[in-house]
Amino acid sequence: MKRLINVRPSRVWRIGLALLPFAVILLLYISASDARLAENPQDKLLPSFTQMGDAINRLAFEPSKRSGDYLFWQDTLSSLRRLGIGMAIAASLGMLFGLLTGALPVVNASFAPLLTVVSLVPPMALLPVLFIVFGLGEVSKVALIAIGITPFIARDIQKRSLEIPREQLVKAQTLGANSWQIIVRVLIPQLLPRLIDAVRLSLGSAWLFLIAAEAIASTDGLGYRVFLVRRYLSMDVILPYVAWIALLAFIIDYALAKLSAVAFPWHAQQEGKS
């Protein structure tokens, strides 16, 4: 008998074992839902899959009676747009600050302590400030994501750029490179895959900020919808929405990972080695 730490499942077993917990959860849910609905067909807590399907069908494929929009897609589009713009701003600013503080000791001396302090401010606590300054429109939601994520990305990129071996920078100088050329040809290309990693890691918080901002003040969006229908205990809408958000998050993460692997093949090799 092999030691447990040496037992590795074969490919088929691996897939089976991976699917097993999902199947168990699904089964538990269905049986619990059936039991409750048998007791009381009006029960809202654990809707059946048919009820959830109906709810999503209504939201996704029938125009809303009030506005004529297809709410599900409208919500998805609004949320993704906010998330996209917020993350784009955070990634650019984070890259800029991280790169400059990482590459130039002069900038580091004056901005690195500030960056550390700023990153300690809980972004959610700034949300009221953002609402006051930017109003309740789109800007404050995008700003929350940007403000919440930028310090994390900036610090990560700063750390990564300091991790690039000094030998490479010396080497570039012995090849006659000036500061600009070193930043553009040596630092930025090596930091881009790390930026993608940082964005992937911060997407979870970005969704958190997005849904919180939408819950508090919005007229559409995935977060807005789940908090809106909470008033009617509409679990048949909330649960599919949550699953949809998880699926979107997974797709974005997967797409970024693929992008990194295709655009920076050398990075994947390095990762594989270490």
Partner: protein
């Protein structure tokens, strides 16, 4: 060409190097050997410009050597010398890009010329079959060949090698010695090579410097720094001397360890 005048190096209370003076003519191949931590790499960094003497001066053609690395002094480190995000060919071409374009990018005809030139140089160091691979796909020896090609494309006057073959297998090392000697003769370089392998020092180059402590205080091992204890022309010395130097280096090392 290079004049070293009474150079001292201290870190706080620790004296690393004491009172080093020497003159090196153009085209010499100087090998620096010594126990680890004796300051030979520090000395090389001073020649490179990433470190400066605490006292004394290093002159290049009568002027103080620039205190920043530049394209007149090529370098190969033991590792991390090449850019992992560029292919072998691009690793060499980038030197021309730094030189010829303010922004650091080459286009069109300039790019083509630089690529041809780089490919030729890579052929000399034996990497012509690896042009489009990334450094992480290469073996340690190939990576050092690449680093050497990269350091030579701009034809520096001085080539600094910091234990360049320290991590390589003995067989590959011999090939690398051959390569470095050929390139040195062909390009009329002035070479400084740090190594901890005394035999390598005797085999390569024209001149051997042994770095060691001139005085040792067992109570305060860092009170005295290392100097050049032997400055020998290579080829003119007996095997007995090699053993003697080897013995004295290890004796001092033991004294420190006690």
């Amino acid at each position: 060409m290079i004049e070293i005048r009474n150079v001292w190096k201290r870190f706080d209370d620790n004296i690393i190097l004491e009172n080093i003076s020497a003159t090196v003519k153009e085209g010499e191949f100087v090998t620096l050997v010594g126990a680890s931590g004796c300051g030979k790499s520090t000395f090389l960094r001073m020649l490179l410009g990433t470190d400066s003497p605490s006292q004394g001066s290093i002159l290049l053609d009568g002027k103080a050597i620039p205190s920043e690395p530049d394209s007149g002094r090529g370098v190969v480190f033991q590792q991390y010398s090449v850019f992992p995000h560029l292919t072998v060919l691009e690793n060499v071409v980038i030197a021309r890009a730094f030189e010829r374009s303010r922004l650091g990018f080459l286009w069109g005809a300039a790019k083509k010329t630089a690529r041809e030139e780089a490919a030729e140089l890579l052929n000399i160091v034996g990497l012509s079959h690896m042009l489009h691979r990334y450094p992480d796909e290469l073996s340690g020896g190939m990576r050092q060949r690449l680093a050497i090609a990269q350091a030579l494309i701009l034809k520096p006057r001085i080539l600094l090698l910091d234990e360049p073959f320290g991590a390589l297998d003995p067989g590959i090392r011999a090939d690398m010695h051959e390569l470095v000697l050929n390139l040195w003769r062909k390009h009329k370089l002035t070479v400084f090579m740090v190594t901890h392998d005394l035999k390598e020092g005797f085999h390569l180059g024209t001149r051997l410097w042994v770095f060691d402590k001139l005085r040792v205080d067992p109570q305060a091992p860092n009170a005295y720094g290392a100097g050049i204890t032997y400055d020998l022309p290579v080829g003119a010395c007996e095997p007995e001397l090699l053993e003697e130097i080897d013995g004295s280096l290890s004796a001092n090392k033991q004294a420190e360890e006690i």
